[in-house]
């Protein structure tokens, strides 16, 4: 057989294999992003679920701090509702924004409660409280690690998609736009330079 024909066929075969490999890699990495986002939601839910336990333990000691406790429960319920709404319509940017807002309110309420608890040493040293304290800090860690893993997955996907020659083929494989990393509630605050006045 003609050598040129054989060489061309081999080259074409190699190109075809590369295209298959690229397509599958893009699919796998995009799914990793989706999975990572689901993980973030799981950890947020866990954090919301732990809070009633915290309030139940604290109630016995914080008899005079009724408002703070109620504020936390109310914020928690709003946050859970926001999370459900966001999960029901994953594409809706409005829902994600709402979730950001109620999550923020929730975090502030919990912070106020934690500050209040600082003033009650018997509460802090109770064994239940210590165990719960460990669970709470672990949960906070889990939320941030889940977000970190999501951002790492986004990085992985974008790097493959933007490199050459994947850059040329990705749009036709259905991977037109870059994935976006998770934004924090205070991203806006970080972007705006602080005004220093003397």
């Amino acid at each position: 057989m003609n050598t040129y024909l054989v060489v061309n066929l081999v080259l074409l075969g190699l190109c075809a294999f590369y295209c298959m490999y690229l397509f599958n890699s893009l699919v796998a990495r995009r799914n990793e992003i989706k999975n990572a986002f689901a993980q973030v939601e799981v950890q947020l839910k866990r954090r919301y679920d732990l809070i009633p336990n915290l309030v139940a333990i604290a109630k016995g000691y914080l008899a005079h701090e009724q408002e703070t406790l109620e504020a936390v429960i109310a914020a928690r319920n709003a946050a859970v509702a926001g999370l459900e709404a966001a999960k029901a319509q994953p594409g809706s940017a409005n829902n994600i924004e709402q979730l950001g807002l109620v999550d923020s309110t929730f975090c502030n309420a919990v912070e106020r409660l934690t500050l209040t608890m600082e003033a009650y040493p018997e509460l802090k040293s109770s064994q239940n409280m210590q165990q719960l304290s460990e669970e709470l800090s672990s949960t906070e860690n889990r939320v941030s690690f889940a977000r970190q893993a999501y951002n790492d997955a986004v990085l992985n996907y974008n790097t493959l998609k933007q490199s050459f020659p994947a850059l040329l083929l990705a749009p036709s494989f259905g991977h037109g736009s870059d994935a976006a990393p998770l934004k924090f509630a205070d991203t806006l605050a970080i972007k705006v330079a602080p005004k220093i006045s003397f």
């Binding site: 669970e135 672990s138 860690n141």
Partner: protein
């Protein structure tokens, strides 16, 4: 620490070493078959003799390759025991669903956090009774992976340092280091088997010199013995160099795991702190079988008198300096118990 850059470097080095290993095996096969054609290419023999010699070379090469392959496969399947077996041999107790103290609860929380950060499922966690600071990861894929942690690590390290150690172990699971190591051990074993075959051939044939033989048989005896010598020498020298390469790969994977630990925790001080405490507390495991699995540990089991070609772990100070370039050279005394 630019952990992505460090990871790329470690992966690149590993690839180079593996290529070196493959070249070593090919050289072994070539060297053992070469003796048959040395005498032939001197212009005095005709082409028929040359083709016969090449034919013999081919046959010998195939036989030697077969020996290496069979030896490797045998060892490979022997090692496919799974992680739990190793954990139990080292005296570990599973604590996944059986946490007895708040420290154990904290350890499981840290393991779950690192599982999230690395994207690996939560493995079985075993607790070893030693008071020194050490950990290991075993198992060939995330599904049958096992992590072991010593009592000392659990109680002497802060939460952040424990995170660093666990993240390092997760990196071994995530990067398939156990499988890589097993393949290397199997290859080394295959090469060793060639040497053993040569020794067996040599000693087997020297024994049979007792009875009187005809000239013909003396010729084949000589051929057999020289074959034995060649296989023996090539096999033992080959396995020496293969062991050196295997240890070098192991060291590079340790650097990779350190860099990945920083990636997962985004906190170099965690793992650096753990390494500094090991500098003063030590990481020897007391189990009688501990030495067998030294390549799996977070830190080398024995004080580095193997500061040489065969060390499975890089020097402790070197590891600390790569993570924390500003280190002052002092190890930390762990808190009094």
């Amino acid at each position: 620490m630019n952990f992505f850059e460090q990871q790329r470097r470690a992966r690149h080095q590993t690839a180079l070493l593996i290529v070196l290993m493959i070249i070593a095996v090919l050289c072994l096969i070539a060297l053992t078959s070469m003796p048959f054609i040395i005498g032939v290419f001197d212009g005095q023999h005709d082409s028929e003799a040359k083709s016969k010699a090449l034919h013999t070379t081919g046959v010998v090469a195939m036989i030697v390759s077969g020996i290496v392959l069979l030896g490797s496969l045998f060892k490979f399947f022997q090692l496919l025991g799974g992680g739990k077996v190793i954990a139990e041999k080292l005296g570990g107790r599973p604590i996944n669903d059986n946490m007895r103290t708040p420290d154990e609860r904290r350890l499981m929380n840290v393991v779950e956090e690192m599982a999230l950060a690395s994207g690996v499922t939560v493995p079985a966690v075993y607790l070893l009774p030693d008071e020194t600071i050490n950990a290991f990861a075993a198992g060939f894929n995330p599904k049958d992976a096992v992590i072991g942690v010593t009592q000392g690590a659990m109680s002497l390290l802060t939460r952040e340092e424990l995170q660093g150690v666990i993240a390092h172990e997760f990196s071994h699971i995530y990067n398939g280091d156990m499988l890589l190591n097993t393949r290397l051990v199997a290859t080394v074993h295959g090469i060793l088997v060639v040497g053993l075959t040569g020794a067996y051939l040599l000693f087997g044939l020297t024994k049979s010199k007792k009875s009187k033989k005809k000239d013909d048989e003396y010729f084949w005896l000589l051929v057999g013995m020289s074959m034995g010598v060649v296989l023996c020498v090539a096999g033992f020298i080959g396995s020496f160099f293969a062991n050196v390469i295997k240890a070098a790969v192991s060291r590079q994977r340790e650097f990779l795991a350190d860099a990945s630990a920083v990636q997962f925790t985004r906190n170099p001080q965690g793992i650096a702190g753990a390494l500094k405490k090991i500098g003063s507390q030590g990481s020897t495991l007391s189990s009688p079988r501990a030495k067998e699995f030294s390549h799996l540990y977070f830190s080398a089991g024995s004080k580095t008198f193997f500061k040489s070609l065969f060390a499975t772990h890089p020097d402790l100070s070197e590891r600390i300096r790569r993570i924390d370039p500003q280190w002052d050279g002092q190890f930390t005394e762990p808190p009094a118990q």
